[in-house]
Amino acid sequence: WDEPIIFEQSRPGRRGIAVPAPGVPAVELPDTVRRAEPPRLPEMSQLHVLRHYVRLSQENLGVDQAIAVGQGTCTMKYSPKVNDRFVTDPKVAELHPLQPDDTVQGVLEIYWRLERMLAEISGMHRVSLQPASGSAAIYANIAMIRAYHASRGEGERRDQVITTMFSHPSNAACAKTAGYEVITLMPDENGYPDIEALRAAVGPRTAALMITNPEDTGIFNPRIAEFVALVHEAGGLACYDQANANGLLGVTRAADAGFDLCHFNLHKTFSTPHACGGPAAGASGVSEALAPFLPGPTVEFDGSRYHLDADRPLSVGKMRPFLGVTPNVVRAYAWIMALGAAGLREVAETAVLNNNYLMHKVLQIKGASAPWGRNRLEQVRYSWQELSEETGVHSEEIGVRAADFGVHYWTSHHPYVVPEPFTLEPTESYSKEDLDEYAAILEHVADEARRDPGLVKGAPYNQTIHRIDPSSLDDPGRWSPTWRAYTRKHLS
């Protein structure tokens, strides 16, 4: 579709929906608060609004359409359609979050049960389902770490958080936002976070270690318990970013390595849909020592009914409005219920098998490599460095060309410690045939890059639009973050 910007389809006087008339006397507003000019929103009939967005929707590659193994670290898996039905039902969609407890017993029971499931999966004592996302869960964990140290009178002194380069940037960024100095461990020559660097960094100023394992490279750090112990010895807390938990379900648990806190992304491991980037949901798990600091309220069960407990003096308080992202809590609960213990283990094993199989195929492609050997769990950060040196084609360009064939991949977070990176994570949702097709596309594009680098660099050819000129996006004089800005700068 060559679909115009919605403002270009507007015609004054048209309407997409009608609103109930007041039916009671009107209220006259004082000038101080009355809007002077009507907002310049589009004016379109209902079909035209629908059609516009239906067309835009078709210009995306989601899990429902594509072989979505290319968004490594993001655990793109099938979100069962039946779970969507539960949350669009009025019994979820039309609940107000402040209804009396006895009118939301079903929802509270699901919170309570999911908390216990995630506690079992992580080995932690309690779990808060309040955080709105993975990063929000990281922030919640940091808030609890801060409250914990403060409660022990060490709040001022412990002003450093240690993390690793291959942990998600939010570990560093949330810690910084919470007022901590951030120390980042780089990988050693084997791709593990450098334990010597940790030894050097850890000390009386250490509030916590925030670490992913396996890291975003897919490499599991076998000395993780040692890392945790080092931090504990210094009086710090160890916090496990379990964004990459998909290969570990039923295999190893946060508590087993001694972690004090951890978090899951329900929209990754537990299948709630990614929704173009949220709504997501996070779950923060904590040890018994940290439990008093959990965000509130918590859901409690007295043997006959479920209720909210907001009377928790040490709680860090609210992380977001109300109890949590209930629709995603419901979906994650239903997903686990459809799988059970054996099913979760099968998820993990299949994710790891798929990843190793895909790695086997990708590493047969000339020009592709996976630094630091083949020890990987559910994802791999690969490199096109060889191919790039040979052809001058960069990983980003290969990715754009691959999308001409209906697949996407993600390079990595900045900085590119792995040069010319691409990160693949074939979760349990994909078939062997999908993985074969995906690898074949990469191989085809790699061949193209060698045969005709200009072809690859000129992509896309087969997508909605052509190659973008990004130069204006960083130029305050020209950037156009809204149509309003665009029309002012470029059309007037």
Binding site: G16, V19, V33
Partner: protein, 460 residues
């Protein structure tokens, strides 16, 4: 049986794949995990319900224990609002293409970029500001970040914050800000608006909400903007965009940053699952530099006249520079941004104006009816949008009495105060039904005379 969610769990394909990679078992692939970290037992979880029908029956059983707001007549608001959700909003955000996409490039996910660009662009028109973020989690986070933006922008660390803010939101702001920002709370005036305000040049911002926690529309925006600006501070205003068909946008009276929640714009209440936060500013480089969120902008392509999209000023973000970026960015609530865009496109300027007028009128009508029914309506002379507080002898008692009539009467702010929410979904008959039930509920104890301004608490 091969699980329907796991195609390669089928034993034949599994064996084939293991053979291809030369592994004897999946166990081999876990070699990196030390034995002492391995769980030596199955997880202790409930028996699974693998058949979809049994899962549906189980979930229906659980969820059937809820009473929803199509069954009860609900006047609950306080941050989560029962507006009409157009079917087209549900249709679009239910489409798998939007529901299951994530973070592709501006090429293969062109539609997502365009839809979000259009969302921010429609918000910009409503707000009369040129820069709007791709949504953050919710209005709480938006407020916290907006305040931090002002703090960074001014290099100061004190903020004057209206006292007419929900208690839970205050809790969030304290958690998010206290370690390096001093929050000075302004009292609520007798009319329900922000009271006496004094700041000096150590203040980064004044933070105001309108309509505030009592549903009162603040009328002194311009005065506060001038006060802030005179001190070199910013005015940060949180407002529900659904009010802006009739109410002046913050920019119109001089606000520097606007923020708030967009749940009203086409999201279901969903037990608090429909929230997303917006932040908006003018197009000033220094201010734009303080956004942590992604900003999507138009960019030309090789083909003249074709629109592409991309990240504006990406270097601000933690994606670009980890802890050196502004706060953090990650998955938040993009789908609700797309949905709000659908909502605003359906409504158009006239729809937003009419909706605002209907809500203003019905809110006023409800205030009059409840007053006539014997409740003491607080701040009766203020302009109210969608919410107002009433004082009664016993909040719990009245709520219980209303429950007998199938009515969720309002959010309990304290022992004697209820917050009542009225939207376009409440017909005149609904309001009359509430009033009749309130009259009956109060007849036990009669009306009360004289009461102070209640605290802005909540029931949860």
């Amino acid at each position: 049986m091969t699980h329907p969610y796991i195609p390669n769990a089928e034993p034949g394909v599994r064996a084939e794949m293991l053979a291809a990679i030369g592994a004897a078992s999946v166990e081999e692939l876990y070699a990196a995990i030390p034995a002492d970290l391995r769980l030596d037992r199955p997880l202790d979880l409930p028996e699974p319900l693998v058949s979809e029908h049994e899962l549906v029956a189980h979930m229906r059983g659980l969820l059937g224990r809820n009473t929803d707001t199509t069954e009860a007549l609900s006047f609950l608001g306080h941050g989560c609002y029962p507006h009409h959700v157009p079917a087209v909003c549900d249709e679009i955000n239910g489409r798998g293409e939007f529901l299951t996409a994530y973070a592709g490039e501006p090429y293969e996910d062109h539609g997502r970029f365009q839809a979000l660009f259009e969302y921010v662009s429609m918000m910009a028109e409503l707000l009369e500001m040129d820069v709007v973020n791709v949504p953050t989690y919710d209005g709480y986070q938006a407020a916290g970040t907006a305040i931090r933006m002002a703090v960074r922008y001014t290099g100061r660390s004190k903020v004057l914050i209206s006292g007419a803010v929900a208690a839970d939101k205050m809790s969030k702001l304290h958690d998010f800000l206290d370690h390096d920002v001093e929050l000075v709370v302004a009292p609520v005036g007798p009319g329900g608006e922000i009271g006496d305000v004094r700041i000096d040049e150590t203040f980064a911002a004044i933070y105001l909400e309108t309509p505030n926690v009592y549903g009162v529309v603040e009328t002194r925006g311009r005065e506060l903007a001038e006060l802030a600006h005179a001190a070199g501070a910013l005015l940060v205003v949180s407002t529900d965009p659904i009010s802006l068909g009739v109410l002046a946008p913050p920019a119109a009276y001089g606000a520097d940053i606007a923020c708030g929640d967009i749940q009203s714009l086409g999201m279901h209440q969903a037990h608090g699952g429909g929230h997303a936060g917006y932040i908006a500013t003018r197009d000033e480089e220094r201010l734009v530099a303080e956004f942590p969120s992604r900003l999507f902008g138009l960019a030309p392509t090789e083909v003249p006249g074709e629109y592409g999209f991309g990240d504006v000023f990406y270097d601000r973000t933690s994606f670009a520079h980890r802890e050196e970026g502004k706060e953090w960015v990650g998955t938040a609530a993009a789908l609700w941004g797309i949905t709000a865009g659908v909502y605003l496109a359906l409504m158009g300027p006239e729809g937003m104006r009419e909706l605002g007028e209907t809500i203003l009128a019905r809110t006023r009508y409800a205030m009059e009816r409840l007053a006539a029914a014997g409740a003491r309506v607080l701040h009766p002379d203020a302009v109210h949008f969608r919410e107002f507080a009433i004082e009664v002898p016993s909040a719990d008692g009245l709520l219980a009495a209303l429950r007998e009539h199938g009515i969720f009467g309002g959010v309990r702010l304290d022992d004697r105060t209820l917050l009542v929410c009225v939207t376009e979904r409440h017909s005149r008959d609904d309001i009359d039904r509430l009033a009749a039930a309130v009259r009956e509920g109060l007849s036990v104890s009669g009306t009360i005379e004289g009461a102070g301004t209640p605290a802005a608490g909540e029931t949860a």
